[in-house]
């Protein structure tokens, strides 16, 4: 044995094989049927075997007895008739034959020998099939059964048959007895089987019923009904002491008791956990409410701050625009710096308002087929100058793809990402904007914006979508943005049902990507609005409603500078009255949302739409709260947020002029 073992060194190297999982155990039917089989099959086998053996034995005994009796009669007749046959004493032989018949065992006796003696007794049977014949030779015998009477040297005459006895037995009774034995055997076997079947069925039920109940209880526990119990007790449990040893108890009762205890424990644990969950939920709800409150407060703060900042900024912008044409050459650089700062502040406020609006979820994207070629052309027109200034190559690859998305929002995202990339690309670097079919799903298009700039350290990659988070602008240079672009992009992407992913490494550039659904080829393209040519605004009749006289003054100065006729009104009621006179026609109505007192700009705009349907009704507001925005959206009101950029206002009025011109 030992020489077959591996040497020590190699033995250590042998790793024991992983334990093989036991093969699946297949069971069929149910326990009651198994128990039934377990009990009945051996009983049936034993009953059948025993009955078969006993019946066979009994039949053999009957056969042997039948034969033995017939043979015995034949032998006895032979014994009785030996001397008479020797002497040819026919009367004596007849007496012997008749005497043999009187016993009733045989129905016919024939005694004969070769000398012509033939003595019969009993009727000649009509059918030999019912008879069985037994023969016995007749030999001369003596009491001591020795051949002593024979002279020495002579053949023993006693051994030589001197005749033959034939007895015939009727097999009818024997066959009947045989059939009866057979039927009795079968009957006994059937009775035994029936008894076994009944008792085993009873036992199997006795065993299977508690098990079934235990199984049901376990199933109920699994379904969460912890109040379920087995309720299986031992028959004499009320007599036995409760602390009876497990060895003496019925195993099924013990199992049921254990499961009941388990159920009790589960129920108790569930109670405790529910209690804890309730407490935790209450705490979570409280915190959520606090968080919601905080978010609401923040939005409200942002809205209020935005409104309160916009108001003076709006006025400032209006005045600066008014001052610039008349500024002396010495003043002009300062006024320009002032205008630049105001624009920065406006941009910042616009971003904040955008974020606020996105958080309020008041924007609904308009999904259309967007050919990426057109989109990229527009973006190229926007950013080509910047790229050229910074000597960055800007490459576009649309591959003829089109997507299903909101064109403006998608343009906003991609444009933001391109601006971002141009900002971080080194001089002489390249920014590539490419679209291609998504490798994972052919129905999507992946738009990537790639630069070969310094890249983003992994530590920053998770935070670049946060508001005001900037990677390399510790000095907070406003010309490098405020750190809100990616935050807004992320929000817009979420609104479009996608997300922006970033892949970057230091000194290896960055790749921002988003996936949008691909458009079907047969989908119609929304025709682009024709570019509106700027037309002079001279003669445009405008009404400006604001409770702030500074705003009113600024607005009047700007509009009159553009050649418009301006009527300024400070209250809503007055404005409505002026609109309803009927003799005055206004081309545009610009109304502040929050007027003095209880006046509401919405009412003025509604009245203007009613009274002057052809007029352009625009609500001007610095409020960016979600409630306000929702309300305006439902009212279908055109909104200009403060501070209103003069260019934007001019563009708006130009469209009015363009629409009114044919008339």
């Amino acid at each position: 044995m030992s020489d077959k073992l591996p040497p020590e060194g190699t033995r250590a190297d042998i790793t024991s094989p992983p334990p093989q999982s036991a093969p699946k155990l297949m069971v069929r039917g149910n326990l009651q049927r198994d128990l039934f089989r377990l009990g009945v099959v051996p009983c049936a086998a034993v009953a059948l075997a025993l009955t078969g053996w006993f019946t066979h034995s009994r039949l053999q005994t009957l056969e042997a007895a039948f034969d033995a009796e017939g043979q015995a009669v034949a032998r006895q007749v032979a014994a009785m008739s030996d001397l008479s046959l020797y002497a040819g004493d026919l009367p004596a032989l007849q007496n012997v034959a008749n005497a043999a018949l009187r016993g009733g065992q045989v129905m016919r006796v024939e005694i004969s020998n070769s000398a012509g003696v033939y003595v019969t007794a009993g009727p000649k049977a009509s059918s030999l099939a019912q008879l069985r014949m037994f023969t016995s030779p007749v030999t001369l015998r003596e009491a001591s059964r020795a051949s002593a009477f024979a002279p020495a040297g002579s053949t023993a005459a006693g051994e030589t048959p001197i005749g033959l006895v034939q007895t015939f037995r009727d097999t009818t009774a024997y066959a009947r007895e045989r059939s009866r034995s057979l039927m009795a055997g079968i009957g006994i076997a059937l009775v035994a089987l029936l008894a076994a079947w009944a008792s085993v069925r009873h036992m199997a039920r006795t065993v299977a019923r508690p098990l079934r109940r235990v199984s049901r209880t376990v199933a109920a526990l699994e379904a969460g009904h912890f109040e379920a119990r087995c309720d299986v007790v031992e028959g004499d449990s009320h007599h036995a002491p409760p602390a009876a040893s497990r060895g003496d108890s019925h195993e099924l009762a013990v199992l049921a008791r254990d499961i009941d205890r388990l159920a009790e424990r589960l129920q108790s644990n569930r109670r405790i956990s529910e209690e804890r969950v309730r407490e935790a939920t209450a705490v979570a709800l409280q915190r959520m409410a606090e968080a919601e409150q905080a978010a609401l407060s923040r939005a409200r703060f942002l809205a209020a701050a935005s409104h309160d900042l916009r108001q003076p900024l709006h006025a400032m912008g209006l005045f600066i625009d008014g001052l610039l044409p008349g500024a002396s050459p010495a003043q002009r650089p300062a006024v320009l710096r002032l205008q630049e700062s105001t624009e920065f502040m406006g941009v910042l406020l616009d971003d904040l308002l955008e974020i606020s609006r996105l958080d309020a979820q008041v924007l609904t994207p308009t999904i259309t087929k967007v050919p990426l070629a057109a989109l990229f052309d527009q973006l190229d027109a926007q950013h080509a100058a910047t790229a050229s200034e910074t000597r960055v190559r800007l490459r576009w690859s649309d591959r003829g793809l089109a997507v299903r998305s909101d064109a403006a929002l998608l343009q906003r995202i991609v444009g933001n990402l391109v601006a971002n990339a141009l900002r971080h690309a080194p001089s002489g670097g390249t920014v590539l904007v490419a679209a291609r079919r998504s490798r994972k799903d052919g129905d999507n298009v992946r738009i990537e914006v790639r630069d070969n700039g310094v890249g983003i350290a992994p530590i920053h990659q998770g935070r670049i979508f946060e508001e005001f988070y900037q990677v390399a602008n510790t000095e907070r240079d406003r010309r490098r943005g405020f750190g809100l672009g990616l935050a807004i992009c992320a929000r817009i992407a979420a609104l479009l049902g996608t997300r922006i992913t970033v892949r970057s490494a230091l000194q290896a550039g960055s790749t921002f990507a988003l996936t949008v659904p691909a458009a079907r080829a047969d989908e119609a393209t929304t025709p682009e609005p024709a570019p509106v040519a700027l037309t002079p605004l001279a003669g445009l009749h405008c009404m400006v409603i604001d409770d702030d006289p500074v705003i009113l003054d600024g607005s009047r100065a700007l509009l009159e500078q553009w050649g418009c006729q301006v009527e300024c009104i400070s209250t809503g009621a007055e404005a409505i009255a002026r609109l309803g006179t009927g003799d005055l026609h206004f081309d545009a109505v610009l109304c502040d949302l929050q007027l003095a007192g209880d006046d509401d700009g919405m009412d003025v705009i509604t009245a203007a739409k009613r009274l002057q349907p052809d007029a352009l009704a625009v609500l001007v507001s610095g409020a960016t709260g979600p409630e306000v925005l929702q309300r305006l959206r439902h009212g279908g009101v055109m909104l200009l947020t403060k501070p209103v950029a003069p260019a934007k206002l001019r563009a708006l009025l130009t469209t009015r002029r363009h629409a009114a011109a044919p008339a």
Partner: protein, 351 residues
């Protein structure tokens, strides 16, 4: 189970007697005719069939006008007779054997009678004890009965009364003559006897010695008639034929069958003195009949009447009337035997 009894021997005598009754009765009557008319008193102590038949033949052979008295003794053979029948032979012959029976006292009967005949052992004993000088014939006794009487009854040798004894079995010489006629080449005769058979054995041996050439008699004694096996085993190998003596063995059916079976098994012929033995497996037998015995008894009576008397009784064995042969047995033994009549004639010539 059943028990089969072989009644051949008991039936044998009865049938034999019936068969030969008529012819023998006629011959007995003819033989008795020249005798002077004498009164015959017959004593019967039992009701055996053979004895009754014998008495009938006696009555049938009685002369017309002669006196025939039948006295029936009590079953125990007491001195005082129970009944006496007295009848005249002639007038009663036509009326039947037992008709016209008169009763009278034994004493009165004895004074008038010429011959008294006692049939059977009880009657013989009673007759011997009875006083009187009339001739007395003791008929139908076996050899052993006679020996018994001789030993126990001194009246048998009274000088004042002539007594004749007629044995019912043929003489041993006749038996040996039959054996000689059937088996001419054989000499050894095997006999199984009991101690009581001693007189018979002596007679047989005497007869054997008288044979020419003398018979070789092989005798084996058995303790009794029920224990024959050892004696048979001893005697059979030394014998050419077996003989059944009219003793306790011959009178016992079982013992006779044992001898017959032994002979059959050993292939030996068995001889005897009864027709039943022949039917049951014996080869041949010289038999006497009641009619023949009745005639012989009457002749013995006449012989007594003519004789001068003496102390010893006159003893005669029965004269064989016929020979019976079992042809089946003979065929089984491979023997070719003469006709029964021819054998009987040979016996007569021999005598």
């Amino acid at each position: 189970m059943f028990v089969a009894v072989n009644p051949s021997i008991s039936l044998f005598r009865k049938r034999l007697r019936r068969g030969a009754r008529i012819a023998l009765a006629m011959s007995a009557a003819l033989l008795a005719a020249p005798t002077p008319a004498a009164a015959l008193t017959v004593l019967m102590g039992d009701e055996l069939a053979a004895h009754s038949e014998f008495v009938q033949y006696l009555r049938a052979g009685q002369e017309p006008g002669s006196r025939f008295d039948l006295v029936r003794l009590s079953p125990g053979g007491a001195d005082t007779p129970q009944a006496t029948e007295t009848a005249s032979a002639e007038p009663e012959r036509s009326a039947g054997v037992n008709s016209g029976v008169r009763t009278r006292s034994l004493r009165a009967l004895a004074s008038d009678a010429n011959l008294t005949m006692a049939v059977g052992m009880p009657a013989a004993r009673a007759a011997l004890e009875r006083p009187g000088q009339q001739p007395l014939v003791l008929a139908m006794l076996s050899r052993l009965d006679y020996e018994n009487l001789r030993a126990t009854s001194p009246a048998l040798r009274r000088g004042d009364r002539r007594v004749g004894v007629l044995l019912r079995d043929p003489a041993m010489a006749d038996q040996l003559a039959l054996v000689g006629a059937v088996l001419p080449q054989k000499q050894r005769i095997g006999v199984v006897a009991t101690p009581e058979s001693e007189p018979l054995v002596r007679e047989l041996q005497r007869a054997a010695q008288g044979g020419s050439p003398p018979w070789d008699v092989q005798v084996e004694y058995a303790p009794d008639a029920k224990s024959l096996a050892a004696s048979l085993r001893a005697v059979v190998p030394r014998s050419d034929a077996l003989m059944v003596l009219p003793d306790l063995i011959g009178d016992s059916q079982a013992a006779t069958l044992s001898v017959l079976r032994a002979g059959a098994e050993a292939g030996l012929p068995v001889f005897g003195a009864s027709e039943g033995l022949v039917r049951s497996g014996g080869l041949a037998a010289a038999v006497s009949t009641p009619a023949q015995l009745a005639q012989q008894a009457r002749l013995l009576g006449q012989k007594l009447a003519g004789s001068g008397g003496g102390a010893s009784p006159l003893v005669e064995s029965a004269t064989p009337a016929a020979v019976r042969v079992n042809t089946t047995v003979a065929r089984g033994l491979g023997l070719r035997l003469p006709e029964e009549r021819e054998l009987a004639e040979r016996l007569t010539v021999t005598r």
